[in-house]
Symmetry: C2
Subunit: 531 residues, 2 copies
């Protein structure tokens, strides 16, 4: 990253920053990624998704500009307005522009996606390169509720958002501050994005995500990022990354495509993610689900490239499956794990960074189920070589709850993974020859020089998990992990100190936010920020 | 398996059996196994272990017959009797036969190990083929304690043993009944093996493990198996599988090698497993730990082949690491996962079935830590292609506790894995073309014919985990997984019905057991069973 394009006061701000961490680095996978599909399998899914895009098509709802863009790029666009009747007599409205795309057109644009890009952080040592062998952990995104041992579950507030922003900043193995850590329900829905962006920018100096709830909110995100990073820097490298969900199956709407357009034109990174609960938003079979996911993700990415070739994009996957008995979404299932691996191979096939996984669970509290399901998603996530892992900490109840304790428990697994990806060292020192000179058959290695040399770094050191024996554990109150994690997150919040920021930047941000609040409250149209 | 060698009453017994299950089949891995090491890495570990066997050697303690066997097979055998002084002044006694083995001698015997074998079960539909792409789950082995929500932790009794034998029999995804499910502490230690064997044979009709606590106990195991299976059948295929632990580092003792000798001569399967807590029984680096594990496992397997070439063997790995702060063993760590993968590659390199993994945790109860750690061992276990997974259900507190609830919670993960190993189907039906004909963009697939066709089998159905929303969960008592599992295991025990067994077989077993009890109580030497 270059700083030459920044105005002096921003350079000042960065020099003045005294980050808690010496700099966040993505994990770098030194282990082989696991390939679940054969080359033929990858090709079969590619071909199936081409067929879906050509024959079924993608419906664009309430957003004619996108339909026009596709039309100008030789896609077939048809206006449809009909009522579909299902086998069982149910109906649904199908209204919008149906876009059909051939392989050649699609792939022309897909080839323009950069295979890696660097997202700028306010503290440049926290900037993150996305793609390749890099893996980035970001917190849970989107829950309307918070959960905790002290209070159960309640609707989240801005104070909760601040707390999770602080936890994300403090957490050593969380590389990215994420986006909608919780929904701040106590703030007017029209203004929330301003408060969330202010929190990410001022309470942390890691990378953050932009707002996608309206095209104007995307514009606000870009403006606030420009106040911090400068427009020229953001043309070179994105300072925001934003989550564009398909309205699956085979559909995008004005809200998401409106936001995508703003970000693409500003050359900010977008993460295009089909939202698939297999059995409902996609068929119940994983091959079809992968083909549909591929079709939807590539379609959104293609749109970004049509708007601004070379726009940094991430191929997203959010994939769960429905419980066929209750209709509830299920997490940590074998089907989801398989599809997670398959999706990674598809993204690699197109040389596009991949987002998937997280510490997913359907459980409402961090209990045993939560542990099994979370780990059962994270192991495939890491071994698939996912580049951007949203929901890596804090997720509960299928994404409805941001859990305080869950955040720090998940963080333990993130730390475990940070060691795992280094693989097995095979140097002479790793073979410990001198340890065998010092240790006889039947002896022990505790006191050998080799063990002493590796004492402090040999093994992952636990933070929340503990290995105390039953007697010690019982004498200290028989606390389960949930209880122990309660103390851990509270200590983190207590120890929190904000990273330094230039007061002039904060002033300008506040002035812009004040202007926008006024406009939003008075229902006036948005004025571009000029200072 | 052939039945022609059985006496009529045994064939009768088997015809009379009315197993709860229609037959237990190992999982068959249709997914690729994950290779963590390169070919060069595998070779480097092989070479390092050859160097350890040649230069350091393995100490055989209190068992001259084994030293003699190695000597007769051109190994270098040296009597050592010295006191070793560590760097810090601590001492340990090194007394026994030190056996040094060259690569050529070792590999001559290693090449005689069968790459697969079938362990006979009393119900022939439950016989299990070990090796290749097969994966077998067996319960926890060895804990002196039981744990449960109703009582906490207490010393295990024979009643507990019976309960776990019943649970193992009932559990759909547990293929093998295992061995020392708990230590029946209320039974005299000399006689316990008789009660445990009787329980496995009469309460279940799945495969079981033999006793290794004394050579005579191994003889009792073989005799009881012969009463059930007949000697000739057991020459063709083993009816027992027994766990031979190295007394690591680089040491075997009379107890384990004595039992191994009995089993090898009776052509019964042995599972040779170094017992490694890295940092204590092996160096703190994984390359050295893998090389040492390889040396110890191959040494024990080599001994079995020297005694009886072609004896079915499993290459075992039990590998944890020490917490360098507290000295406690840690489970589910990144280091253990890496070594688990590496060990699988070594065993495959020699074409020997591999044992490793399990639902390991250091936690004392099935809480979140327990879930993360268990799953963090089981995912590598399954993806490494482990053939025999001991401790697949019930393990708590580093193996000190057999947990009732833990058993059924772990069993859920076993069920998840049973689906995962099937991989991603890629047939036309899997691509669900007709579902897209019936479902418009923006619609839902719930009512499509394709979904209806796959309704009942599309996704794994949970047994202990549940996906209820917060309101339903709260209204039903806010039970965590631990509490839910309590009801599940109790229902299983309540529903238990023993598999049929020929009364004449039971009579003979009882007569033999009575004879042995008398001998053991009177401290008389063992008489071979003749009927």
């Amino acid at each position: 990253m270059t700083e030459q394009d920044r105005r002096p006061r921003r350079r000042e701000a960065r020099r003045g920053a005294a980050p808690t961490h010496s700099g966040v680095k993505p994990l770098e996978l030194k282990i082989p990624v696991t390939e679940m599909l054969s080359e033929e399998g990858v090709n079969a899914i590619h071909q199936a998704s081409m067929r879906l895009l050509k024959d079924v098509g993608i419906l664009i709802v309430d957003y004619p500009p996108a339909a026009e863009t596709f039309k100008q790029n030789s896609a077939s666009v048809e206006w449809v307005d009909r009522v579909h009747t299902y086998m069982n007599g149910d109906t649904s409205e199908v209204k919008g522009h149906l876009v059909r795309l051939d392989e050649e057109t699609l792939m022309h644009f897909i080839h323009q996606v950069p295979s890696t890009f660097t997202q700028l952080a306010r503290n440049p040592t926290n900037s993150l390169t996305v793609g390749g062998r890099n893996m980035i952990f970001a917190p849970v995104y989107g829950p309307p509720f918070v959960g905790g041992l002290d209070f159960g579950r309640r609707r989240a507030t801005l104070e909760d958002f601040h707390n999770f922003a602080k936890l994300a900043y403090m957490a050593e193995h969380i590389h990215h501050n994420g986006g909608t850590l919780v929904e701040p329900n106590d703030i007017d829905v029209r203004e929330r994005h301003l408060d969330m962006l202010m929190a990410h920018i001022t309470l942390s100096d890691k990378c953050f995500m932009g707002s996608v709830t309206h095209a104007d909110n995307a514009r606000d995100t870009v403006t606030m990022a420009r106040i911090v990073f400068g427009e020229e820097a953001m043309q070179q490298s994105p300072a925001t990354l934003s989550l564009i969900n398909a309205s699956s199956p085979m559909r995008f709407d004005d809200r998401m495509f409106g936001a995508l357009e703003v970000y693409a034109r500003a050359r900010q990174a977008v993460l295009v993610t089909p939202f698939l609960i297999a059995g409902a938003m996609s068929p119940s079979t994983m091959a079809a689900t992968l083909a549909q996911q591929n079709a939807e993700a590539l379609f959104g990415i293609c749109y970004a490239q049509m708007l601004n070739p070379g726009t940094p994009c991430i191929y997203g996957s959010f994939l769960a499956n429905i419980d066929m008995k209750s209709g509830a979404p299920c997490f940590g299932t074998p089907e989801d794990a398989l599809a997670l691996y398959g999706g990674a191979q598809m993204a690699r096939h197109y040389k596009i960074p991949y987002r998937s996984g997280g510490n997913f669970t359907g459980s409402r509290i961090p209990d045993a189920q939560s542990g099994y399901e979370s780990a059962s998603t994270m192991w495939p996530t890491v071994q698939a070589g996912v580049n951007f892992v949203l929901h890596a900490a804090g997720w509960l109840e299928g994404g409805l709850i941001s859990g305080y304790e869950k955040f720090v428990i998940d963080h333990e697994l993130c730390g475990i993974m940070a060691r795992f990806v280094n693989g097995i060292g095979l140097t002479d020192e790793d073979f410990a020859w001198d340890a065998y000179d010092e240790t006889p058959p039947g002896g022990h290695f505790l006191g050998s020089s080799h063990t002493m040399r590796h004492y402090s770094t040999a093994f992952y050191q636990h933070n929340v998990f503990n290995m105390d024996n039953y007697e010690k554990w019982e004498s200290e109150g028989s606390h389960d992990t949930y209880k122990r994690a309660n103390a851990v997150y509270k200590k983190m919040l207590k120890d929190y100190e904000p990273p330094a920021i230039d007061p002039a930047t904060v002033d300008e941000l506040n002035a812009f936010v004040a202007q926008r609040r006024t406009e939003l409250r008075d229902r006036k149209s948005r004025t571009e920020w000029k200072k």
